[in-house]
Structure formats: structure tokens, C-alpha cells
């Protein structure tokens, strides 16, 4: 009966499904025309291709949602006039036929276009298949099933649109509130954002959305209790928001620790405050109105030669002699590719405008000698592959990374920064979690210092919602032999350097707290003495 009901729905809805399939194929074709790839990173500023790509993605999303709603509304649940209610149609068959329709009319064409994209983009068949299948399973679970459940709460498209409008108003209000309460919410709102642990709230949200969708579908298809199902949906939406936006860092950190691949691997790692490293230097000619990053020097020991360390999140807290404590800053992502002293960013100097409200501007904090407690959640990474690029020029497949080299560029800016960027287009599933770029024997007078980059998260599963390849950028910072910033002059020679991409995977997540006994924060603002020549 499942197939029989599907055939009826197909007869009624195949034109919409055909249009959606064309939209999906067009989107994949557009992705190939825009090799920079990842739409989530490139944003809506890429000229005609990018804009058209975004429009097509929106059309696919809208078309898919419309098709799912139409499928469900063929045999709507709420209401008392539908003919199917008086027919001997098993409810389970009806529900399964709707899911089958979503799979065959939406996900199979989507899977085909994803697979085609992977192959045309020159990713191997296996990788392309894993990408296409995993993405569509994830989409079915976290998007199509909730959409089926939402549609089952409504009688027709008018009701569905009204429901979507109500949810959109709720989301806009939520956005306003979180923006207005930025600093008070900082401790609890999106604590994992832009860190390797972001998969934890995301995955919790996915699982919860899927479970809620099943619950709502069960209530609707087997009990036909629309009011109960609607209340369940509202409550589930609030819990979903709480899980995905307000999951405490400590919880995410505990989950990540639980999933560590090699517990105990980080036992040798130690942190200490390293005042000998001195202060950061302001870049020459940098306008004084532009704030400079404010760092504390931190030494790390115990990192094995084939390992790297990423401090995913760290907070600094002032402990005054009076016993009072004050949270000074929370920041994410301090990277250490080897043992030595690195910088923990705590704020900016000078603090003006919005940042003037920071606790770092408190006179007691600036002037008094006090204790500083640094709480760190960190992840030890292990190098799993070294990919030889041979040359930075041209588009080549890079073995061991699942990536294709697309383009390179060098940058310099007013920060203490001059770097060479290599952009890679990576397979949408097996892209590296963290990586660094090493230039071997760059032309004099450059010294290249690799930088650890971790654009994704440490998720232990494949599958992503956003279609297309990931665009990642590997970076090497450029200095001269004396350690001063060196802005590129002989760029041609630089791009002929032999290069390696080092790929890292997470090994163990852990937490540590260090206390700096006597420190005056003011002493660690940027050194006004410039270092190195001015940028070109």
C-alpha cells in the first residue's frame, strides 16, 4: 500500500518534483562555475555567480519545503472533510508513503546532483558517493522529517505559510534579544560557536529535531491530535533553541572529552605564563585609533613532534586580594604547532566604543597587581597526513587530504601579520579537521612559520547540510630571519616554493586551569616600538 499511495501522490505532484530536480541540478552546475566553493564561507558577495548560487539554493530550499507540504496536504491530518479519513488506509502505510515520497521526489534527485557535482569537481567516486549519501541522510533526518512533521500540523498551504510566518517572527525577535543582551549572554549563548566543539550542540539539535519530528508525526498520524502535536512542536522548538544556542560549554567539553580517541594522550602537556616573551609590537605606521590585539604570553610544553595543540576556548578571570573575582574575557582558538610560547588573546587596546564596556577597562583591572586564573579547554591533535603540493601554482589534487588546490594569494595588513594563503577546495566529507602549510626553503629573506587552521569542527560523523565543496585556506606567516614581519616582495619566487599541507585530527580533549600569581594587566598591552618595515 505504501507504493500504491506513493504512485497517487506522484501522479499529482510530479511536475513540482521535476522543477525541483532541475533547480537542484542547476545549483550543482553553478557550484562548479564558482570553484571557491563553500557558500557558507564565501557569503553573498561573490558577484553574479555567487548571487545566482544563493538564489538557486534558496529556490531549492523553498521548492523542497513546498513539495513536502504538498505531499502531506494530499492527505491532510487536521480537518474533518478529507476523504481518506473514511477509507481503510493504514495510517502507518500513509506515513511511510509520505516519507518514501520525500526520499524519491526530493532526496534521490538531490543525491544524483550531489554525486554529479562531486565527480565533475574531480573528487573520487567513493568520496563523492559518501558525500552525496551522507548529506541526504542528514538532510532527510534534520530537515525533511521536521518539515513533514510541521506540514502534518496544517491543513493546507495557507496554514503552513502562516505557521512559517509565526516562526519567522519568533526567530527575528530571538535575534534582537540575543543581540541586545550580547555581553550578559556571552557566557551562555553559542558558547561553542567557531570552535571545534560546535558539532556537539549541532548534533544534539539534529538528534532532538529528528526525535521531535518522529514524535509529532506519531501523534498526528496515529492519534490525530493536532492541538497536542502543535503544543509538542512549540515546546520542542524551545528545547531545540536551548540545546543548539544555550548548551553550556562545560557540557560540550564533557561530551568531546568522552569521545576522545586516545584518553590520556595529553597528560604530558603543561601550560605556564611566560613573561620573558615580552609584549606584542605595534605594526609600524599603524594609526593609533585602530586597536591592537591584547595578548598574554603562554608557554606550552609536552607537545610531541607529530602533534599540535589547540586551545578551543579560554577565559580569564581576575582574582582580587579582597577575594572578589571578575570575568575579564572569553575567547576561542589559540593554536600551538609545537612547544614554545604563544599568545592568548584577551582583548583590544585601546578599548573604545562598544568594547569600552569590557571589564578590561575597569581601572582596578588595569592598575592593580592581582591574580589571573586562565581556564582552558584544549584539544591535542595528531598529524595524520603530510601532503606534498610540489608547487603552489595551478590546480592539482593533493593526496591524503581529499582536497584540490585552487588558488593562492599573499596578504598583509595593519596587524603584526604578513602571510601566504593557499586556498584548497576539499571534498565535502573527508576534509581535514585541522591543517597547516609548510613552505620548504622559501627564497631569502623569508622565513615561513606555519599556522594551524581548523575551520571545521571535530565532529565524529560524516555528512553536512550545506552543499558543495569546502573551501579552506592554509596559511604560512612570513618573517625575516631576525623574527620581524616580512612583507612579500619577490612573490614569484615565493610561489615556486615547495609546499606541504600537514593534516591533523583530534586525539584528546581536556581542560586545565593555570593561575598567574602577580600580574598587572596594563603591562601586557602592545609595545609601541615597531618591528619590521612598513607594509607595501
Amino acid at each position: 500500500m505504501i507504493w500504491h499511495i506513493f504512485k497517487k501522490d506522484f501522479k499529482l505532484l510530479w511536475p513540482y518534483a521535476a522543477v525541483l530536480a532541475v533547480l537542484q541540478l542547476s545549483y550543482s552546475a553553478m557550484q562548479l562555475l564558482n570553484p571557491a566553493g563553500d557558500i557558507s564561507e564565501s557569503g553573498l558577495d561573490d558577484g553574479p555567480h555567487g548571487v545566482l548560487q544563493q538564489l538557486l539554493l534558496a529556490a531549492v530550499l523553498f521548492g523542497g519545503s513546498f513539495l513536502i507540504a504538498s505531499l502531506v496536504h494530499q492527505d491532510a491530518i487536521p480537518g474533518t472533510r478529507q476523504d481518506w479519513l473514511v477509507r481503510p488506509i493504514p495510517r502507518m502505510s500513509l506515513l511511510l508513503s509520505k516519507i518514501l515520497s520525500a526520499v524519491l521526489l526530493i532526496h534521490v534527485p538531490m543525491l544524483a546532483s550531489d554525486l554529479l557535482f562531486g565527480l565533475v569537481a574531480r573528487f573520487p567516486l567513493g568520496t563523492s558517493l559518501v558525500y552525496a549519501i551522507s548529506r541526504n541522510i542528514l538532510l532527510l533526518m534534520v530537515l525533511s522529517m521536521p518539515l513533514l512533521a510541521f506540514s502534518s500540523l496544517t491543513k493546507n498551504l495557507t496554514e503552513a505559510v502562516a505557521g512559517v510566518f509565526a516562526m519567522a517572527v519568533g526567530m527575528v525577535m530571538f535575534g534582537f534579544i540575543t543581540q541586545a543582551l550580547h555581553w550578559p549572554l556571552k557566557m551562555v549563548y553559542e558558547t561553542t560557536y567557531n570552535t571545534g566543539l560546535h558539532w556537539v550542540p549541532q548534533f544534539a539539535g539534529y538528534v532532538f529535531a529528528f526525535a521531535s519530528a518522529l514524535a509529532v508525526l506519531g501523534i498526528q498520524y496515529f492519534r490525530r491530535k493536532t492541538l497536542t502535536a502543535r503544543v509538542t512542536t512549540v515546546v520542542a522548538s524551545l528545547i531545540f533553541v536551548a540545546l543548539t544556542f544555550f548548551l553550556p560549554w562545560e557540557t560540550a567539553s564533557a561530551v568531546e572529552e568522552h569521545f576522545s580517541r586516545q584518553p590520556g594522550a595529553s597528560s604530558a602537556v603543561s601550560f605556564s605564563f611566560d613573561p620573558t616573551a615580552g609584549r606584542i609590537h605595534r605594526t609600524p605606521n599603524r594609526p593609533s585609533a585602530i586597536p591592537v590585539d591584547w595578548y598574554l604570553p603562554l608557554r606550552v610544553d609536552g607537545i610531541a613532534p607529530d602533534a599540535a595543540l589547540r586551545v578551543d576556548r579560554f577565559s580569564t578571570r581576575a582574582l582580587f586580594a579582597s577575594g572578589e573575582s571578575m570575568l575579564l574575557s572569553i575567547d576561542t582558538n589559540a593554536d600551538f604547532l609545537q612547544n614554545g610560547t604563544g599568545r592568548l588573546h584577551v582583548g583590544f587596546e585601546p578599548l573604545t566604543g562598544e568594547t569600552a564596556k569590557s571589564p578590561l577597562n575597569d581601572p582596578r583591572v588595569k592598575e592593580q597587581v592581582m591574580q589571573i586564573a586562565i581556564e582552558m579547554s584544549a584539544t591535542l591533535l595528531r598529524r595524520t597526513a603530510v601532503a606534498d603540493m610540489t608547487t603552489l601554482d595551478g590546480q592539482v589534487q593533493i593526496n591524503g587530504t581529499g582536497c584540490i588546490h585552487r588558488q593562492w594569494a599573499w596578504y598583509s595588513d595593519w596587524d603584526d601579520d604578513s602571510r601566504l594563503d593557499v586556498t584548497l577546495s576539499c571534498a565535502p566529507v573527508l576534509n581535514p579537521v585541522c591543517y597547516s602549510l609548510t613552505l620548504v626553503n622559501p627564497p631569502a629573506p623569508y622565513v615561513s612559520i606555519p599556522v594551524l587552521k581548523c575551520p571545521g569542527d571535530y565532529k565524529p560523523y560524516v555528512g553536512r547540510l550545506i552543499p558543495g565543496a569546502s573551501s579552506i585556506t592554509a596559511v604560512a606567516q612570513l618573517y625575516d630571519p631576525s623574527g620581524n614581519v616580512r612583507y612579500p616582495e619577490n612573490t614569484e619566487g615565493l610561489f615556486q616554493s615547495k609546499a606541504f599541507i600537514n593534516v591533523y585530527e583530534p586525539l584528546e580533549h581536556f581542560t586545565k586551569t593555570i593561575v598567574i600569581p602577580n600580574i598587572r594587566f596594563k603591562d601586557w598591552t602592545a609595545d609601541p616600538t615597531p618591528r619590521g618595515p612598513a607594509p607595501q
Binding site: M1, K8, Q74, T80, D83, V86, R87, P88
Partner: protein, 300 residues
Amino acid sequence: MIQVNDLWKQFGRHDALRGLSFEVPQGSALALIGANGAGKTTTIKTLINIIEPTRGHVNILGVDSRRISPHELAQIGYVSESQDLPGGLTVAEYLNYLRPFYPKWDKDLEVSVCRQLSLPAKQKIRNLSHGMRMKMALACALPFRPKLLILDEPFSGLDPLVRDEFMEGLLAQAGEMTVLISSHELGEIEGVATDVAFIDDGKLLFQESMGDLTERFREVRVTLDREAAAPHDAPKEWLCLRVMGSVLTFVDGSYSEANLTERVRTHCTGVKHIDTEPMTLRTIFTTLARSNRAEKGRHS
């Protein structure tokens, strides 16, 4: 076939059904009659679990209506004026779709019913007129030879020709079916119903056989030898009392040929002549409806 016990249904603060109880015996054809908003459609939708009752109990084909399953639905034919059929399918496509769900679907009977009702097989349901759509609904309700046929206002909005075709189609296949029909078209019901249940304001006023009902009600015209006046002690079964000159008319709701004269003479003096006339279901219904409305008016 159907037993309804103390059935209640609330919509917000409004009680659509208020302790309704009645029975539809196997093989009977019960006409559910009542004014607009009396609760007929709510009752019918509750019977087949389209609407869940707030309180009370319905047993249909031996199971609780709340637990009605495809097994029971495969034995129930349902036709309603407000039935949403899938407009995008043709008549033939929809019949093809329904067929596998019914183990006892008779393809020959389907062809015969469709021919009798002159249904255009290749036309999309959304392009059918209201009358054609009702005939289509009937054609979808008969080919599996249901044990129970439920018709909710099936004649509403149909012109006399279509109504006749509908009735002919129905009667030709009725056979041993138990029928529950609600309609305002009492003239049509009269030819089908064996029993009548009268609902008002969510409550059952009475249920009895069509024969007993038409036997019990008479329009009575009493001619007096003087100016008539409505008797103060008139029995409550005398409905719609009216006086015109020396003539008193009323509807007797407990008519008996044997004692009518004696009962009239008890309450009226100077009786010269008594005429009685049998009543149609329609006139019985309108009399009862008016009388109930007047009664409610007095109480409020």
C-alpha cells in the same frame, strides 16, 4: 450495527452533543433528522472517528469508534456533502486508487454504478459539478458492498434530476445494507428510511420506526358550534394549536383513532365535527421543530 450511549461533544464552550443515545439495528435505515446545528453531522463524524467524542461511547460494527480500524472502515460506505475528494485525479484514477484498499471491491459493480450514475471516467474530480461530485462519492461508497452506508446530507444542493439519479443508484444497491442518513430532504428520506431519530440541540427527542411515527402524528381539525378558543388544559401532545373562527386545529403527537373523539370532547365543548389527516415526515418534522423552538422561547 451502531449503538450510541450518552455521547457528548464540546467545541470550546459549546456543547454540540449533549448525552445523545440511539441505536441503528442491523438491516434498518435510520434517518437522522433535526434542524441546522442540531448535531447531526457531528454525530455522524463521531461515529466513524473523524471527530473524537468528549464523553460517551459509540459502538460501531462491534468496536469502539475510537478504535475503528481499516478492517471496519472497509465495511463502511460514507457519502457527505462536504467530502474533499482529490481534485487532481480523474474519476477513473481515483476509483483505481481506492480499489486495492477494499478486499471486497467488486469491479463489475463499480462499472455498473458508474454507468448508472453517468460518471465521466476521464474527467478530473475538480472539474465535476457539485451534483456529479456527490454521485462520484456514492460511486466510491458502493462497489465494496458495505455493511453500513452513512449518508450525511447527500441531497444538499442537488437538483431534482440528479437527486433522483442518486436515489436510484442508492436504492438499486441498498440490498441488505444498514443505512444511516441525515438530510433535510425529508421527502427523499421517506422512501428510504425505516426508522427516524429526531435530534434537537444535541439531544435525541425520540427514535421510532417510520410506520409508528406516521401513525402517531395526525393533523386534527375540530369544528365547534361556537367561537373557538385554545383549551387551557390541552395535552402536551397537541402541538401547534391554532384557532380560526369556530375551527380549532392542532397536530396530535399521540394519535389513536379509537380515543380521539373522547380526548377532544374532554378538552373542548360544542364539538360538531372532527377531521384528521395523515402527515408527511416533512410536516411532522417542521411541526416538531417549530414546537421545540416555541418551547425554548417560553423557557428563555
